[in-house]
């Protein structure tokens, strides 16, 4: 006897709009974004320093296996710490925005839109963190090695090696950021609107 709802038209949240919101969110909540980013920047800087030092040694001395296992373990630890830092920081970002998520759901957002929003936001934060980490890494590599292998050895590194280091930095940081933020983003997406609106934060 009771009828079915007639859902004429659709529910949209085009990527361009998500992007706009994501960029505004990053800019308006810069402290939070920078906090999430800081771990990424440090680990990518470390990574870049190791890579470039290895390249410098390779192209000036013809050395092959120049980075000891010890450094690889250090690098692994750095990524581990930054990875858990990302999850923690995004969990906090979600907690701060619980009510906003509830409101978005009232306006018609579906779970996947919220998920998309948080994943995209952290992909950006990761990518930017990768670039910044790369720059910091170059500076660190030059400063740390200036007295030993000398600055000039870095000029011996072909451009393609820099490019490789840059692209891999961005790739690693973006993937790390997306993977580690997916659990908090999923939690955000699954929030029940009534519960979310009760939040006092």
């Amino acid at each position: 006897m009771k009828k079915q709802i007639i859902t004429e038209g659709k529910i949209y949240f085009p990527l361009s709009e998500t992007l706009k919101l994501v960029i505004e969110n990053i800019m308006k909540r810069l402290t939070r974004a920078l906090l999430t980013m800081s771990g990424i920047v440090l680990s990518i800087a470390f990574y870049t320093t190791l890579m470039l030092t290895a390249s410098a040694l390779k192209y000036t001395l013809g050395a092959q296996q120049v980075i000891s296992e010890y450094y690889w373990w250090m690098l692994f630890l750095a990524f581990l710490v930054s990875a858990t830092g990302i999850t923690n920081s995004v969990l906090m970002a979600v907690a701060e925005r619980v009510r906003e998520i509830g409101t978005l759901k009232c306006l018609g957002a579906m779970d996947k839109h919220i998920l998309e929003m948080f994943i995209l936001e952290n992909a950006f934060i990761g990518a930017i963190g990768g670039v910044v980490g790369f720059i910091v890494g170059i500076i660190a590599a030059i400063v740390l090695n200036a007295s030993t292998i000398g600055i000039s050895s870095f000029f011996a590194i072909p451009g393609i090696e820099f490019l490789k280091a840059l692209l891999s930095s961005i790739l690693i940081s973006t993937v790390l950021s997306v993977v580690m933020s997916s659990y908090p983003a999923y939690r955000a997406a699954k929030l029940q609107p009534a519960e979310a609106l009760r939040s006092v934060a």
Partner: protein, 246 residues
């Protein structure tokens, strides 16, 4: 009166219950609510703190699931909607207004009003036209590029009202819309809601303990301990008030 008459109701609530388990005790936030809300009416749900107003608001708005009972919006049992249809209902059928305004903080007044129209897939040009018209209607055209934190509480609530109306909903649900406003600003918001109710023939349902709401409501539902004590027309309420005073 047959099927025809049922079209007069935009919301029907049948045997609605919502229980919360708190350790060993059960809190009966809603305990068997039955009500029918007419299309285009201004209904106030009055009740003390903890009486279940927000819980009822959430149930009618499709924001939470009841323990038992049903809510029909335009004859559709909303418990039967899938996630997509529910989002559709929230985007297009219902506009929400909150005590705490709940504007998106990173967006301007204009962008806040546009947002629900993006979800509903309204064309960009039409979005612009409607958002400007609504902001003008609530008297905030001058403030369209202001962020929420640059606006007073009353102004934020006006933006929230414009946003709630953006997709021309059949129903506007307002949970204590004047709860965070001073007397005069609250009065202005109530007046605005009443005007929009008449102009647009939109059904307005407010949960409130603001006595000022009585003056504009077509009917008042008195809620206590999760039960409707009585539903009165405004004229009946006035009558009693006069009698008490006289």
């Amino acid at each position: 009166m047959g099927g025809e008459a049922s079209y007069a109701y935009t919301v029907e609530v049948e045997g609605l219950k919502k229980y919360y388990k708190m350790g060993n005790t059960i809190v009966k936030a809603l305990d068997g609510i039955n009500m029918k809300i007419y299309r285009g009416e201004y209904l106030s749900i009055m009740g003390p703190s903890g009486s279940g107003k927000t819980t009822l608001f959430n149930m009618i708005g499709g924001l939470d699931r009841p323990t038992a009972g049903k809510v029909f919006i335009d004859e559709v049992d909303i418990a039967q909607l899938d996630a997509y249809e529910l989002a559709w209902l929230r985007a297009r059928k219902i506009g929400y207004i909150f005590q705490t305004f709940n504007l998106i903080p990173v967006m301007t007044a204009y962008e806040n009003v546009v947002l629900p129209m993006i979800f509903a897939g309204v064309e960009a040009e039409e979005r612009r036209r409607r958002a400007l018209e609504l902001l003008d209607r609530v008297g905030l055209l001058k403030f369209k590029d202001h962020k929420p934190y640059e606006l007073s509480g009353g102004q934020q609530q006006r933006v929230a009202i414009a946003r709630a109306l953006a997709n021309n909903p059949a129903i506007v649900l307002a949970d204590e819309p004047t709860g965070n406003l001073d007397l005069e600003t609250g009065m202005e918001i109530i007046k605005l809601l009443k005007e929009l109710n008449e102009e647009r023939e939109v059904t307005i349902i407010t949960a409130t303990h603001d006595i000022k709401m009585l003056a504009v409501s077509d009917r008042i539902a008195w809620l206590r301990d999760g039960k409707i004590q009585r539903i009165e027309k405004r004229s009946e309420v006035r009558f009693k008030v006069y009698k008490v005073e006289g």
